[in-house]
């Protein structure tokens, strides 16, 4: 593997890790709210969350690019408050990936929260656990399969995604060039040997990671009757 490939791998891992973290952070309260609200129009929001999925990634990336660019809504706003534009930066990649992978995180979490019901939380409250305490001691472990699915889908999808990333990131080595783009480039340049190598490596690495995650999960299985 070339130095460039290592750089791309590093960008990929940082991007996927950070995106997953942000997704879980943003997705959890949103999913919790969706799971428990009685708001009549929550289904509209649910539909909105899933919507980015139906656009081809490159096209979605294109629109995000327009929005993030100096003349776009978000970009213009950022510029007006003195921020730097997000397009072609690592931060921009993160924003794009978060946006695109949101449904993979929100939906499994929402289901897990719904299936859990309120009872365990009520019990925890009567046992003296504060809301934050309850979140970590009850919600997270009971909804663990949901969190796991959310994290795995969010992470894997970000690793593999490249349409949005390519569009927003501009494929700048060491900054926004991720492994998926590198592989794509190799394939495109007919460097199949190199592409096979990278793909194989990525697959092996991901497989090990997933094995570790699911293997650990096994240890904490909840027996249900």
């Amino acid at each position: 593997m070339t130095e460039g490939d290592w750089a791309a791998l590093w960008v990929t891992l940082r991007l996927a890790g950070l995106t997953t973290l942000i997704l879980l952070t943003l997705g959890t309260p949103l999913a919790w709210w969706l799971a428990h609200t009685r708001w009549r129009f929550k289904f509209v929001l649910e539909a909105l969350v899933a919507l980015p999925l139906v656009l081809p990634p490159t096209v979605l990336g294109f629109y995000l690019l327009i929005a993030l660019g100096p003349r776009g809504m978000i970009g213009g706003f950022l510029e007006s408050i003195g921020g730097r534009p997000l397009a072609f930066t690592f931060a921009g990649l993160v924003v794009g990936s978060v946006f695109y992978s949101l449904p993979f995180v929100v939906q499994p979490l929402q289901n897990a929260f719904q299936a859990m019901g309120r009872r365990p939380l009520e019990v925890a409250a009567t046992l003296g656990a504060s809301p934050v305490d309850r979140f970590f001691s009850v919600i997270v472990p009971i909804a663990r399969p949901g969190f796991l699915t959310a994290a795995v889908l969010g992470f894997a999808h970000t690793v593999g995604e490249f349409g949005v990333v390519l569009m927003i990131g501009g494929n700048i080595p060491g900054k926004t060039k991720v492994l998926s783009i590198a592989i794509y480039d190799h394939v495109d340049a007919l460097e199949y040997g190199h592409a096979h190598l990278l793909s194989g490596g990525l697959l092996a690495l991901s497989f090990l990671l997933l094995i570790a995650v699911f293997g650990l999960n096994r240890k904490f299985q909840v027996v249900k009757t």
Binding site: G72, A87, I172
Partner: protein
């Protein structure tokens, strides 16, 4: 890429490359991508950039001309005159998307010239770019396809199969242009390099024709 390596070897500039489809990069440059040079597979988008004042005025330079070949990995399948097309004894013919890629446009023109476009409409598979067109053939799913001569001459692969170099009369020229998005000493150096003989040798070795472009000889103007 080979050009970049060689440029880096002979100058003290470093180049960072970003590959991707011409259309995508065009959109990115319009929205402020931090690129210095834009190598397009066509002439349309560099000229658009010039016109919109995004790229340096008159910095367009046609550095090469692509050559279209009809290729099949099977030995002896494609004859040297392209009659295999007329026989039509294949399931799929692969081309690049005529709308997106100059090679695709060229392939479409060839087929139209031969009066075969309509006939094959449902058997033509279209790659997003010339790379995919090549992959369709390479994987054996399409028996033959119009690819670029540079692809089958690729130094990493032994030339295999059979091919027909399509006569340039059958299609409009596939001019590959570069345009300077920003002006800088490095960009100027690169332009100088590109016009030099070493670059021309590399370009030719990759199966491109050289283009004798005069109009753009003036950039960068030394007077600036």
């Amino acid at each position: 890429k080979a050009l970049a390596d060689s440029f880096e070897a002979q100058s003290d500039h470093e180049i960072e490359l970003s590959f991707g489809s011409t259309g995508k990069h065009y959109a990115q440059i319009v929205h402020g991508a931090p690129f210095d040079l834009f190598f397009a597979a066509d002439t349309l988008r560099p000229s658009l950039l010039e016109e919109r004042g995004i790229a340096e005025w008159e910095s367009r330079l046609t550095y090469a001309k692509g050559r279209l070949v009809l290729w099949s990995p099977k030995e002896g399948y494609v004859d040297s005159t392209g009659d295999v097309l007329v026989d039509g004894d294949f399931r799929y013919l692969s081309i690049a998307n005529p709308k997106l890629a100059p090679y695709g446009r060229a392939a479409k023109e060839v087929l139209e010239q031969l009066g075969l476009w309509e006939k094959f409409e449902n058997r033509i598979v279209r790659g997003e770019n010339i790379g995919q067109a090549h992959q369709f053939v390479m994987s054996g799913n399409a028996e033959l396809g119009f690819v670029s001569y540079s692809q089958i001459l690729h130094p990493d692969h032994a030339l295999e199969g059979s091919y027909w170099i399509v006569p340039p009369e059958l299609y409009g020229p596939i001019n590959q242009q570069v345009v300077a998005v920003r002006d800088s000493p490095a960009v100027r150096d690169f332009y100088k390099f590109l016009r030099g003989s070493q670059a021309r040798r590399i370009i030719e070795s990759y199966g491109y024709e050289l283009h004798h472009d005069t109009r753009n000889r003036c950039w960068p103007r030394s007077s600036r």
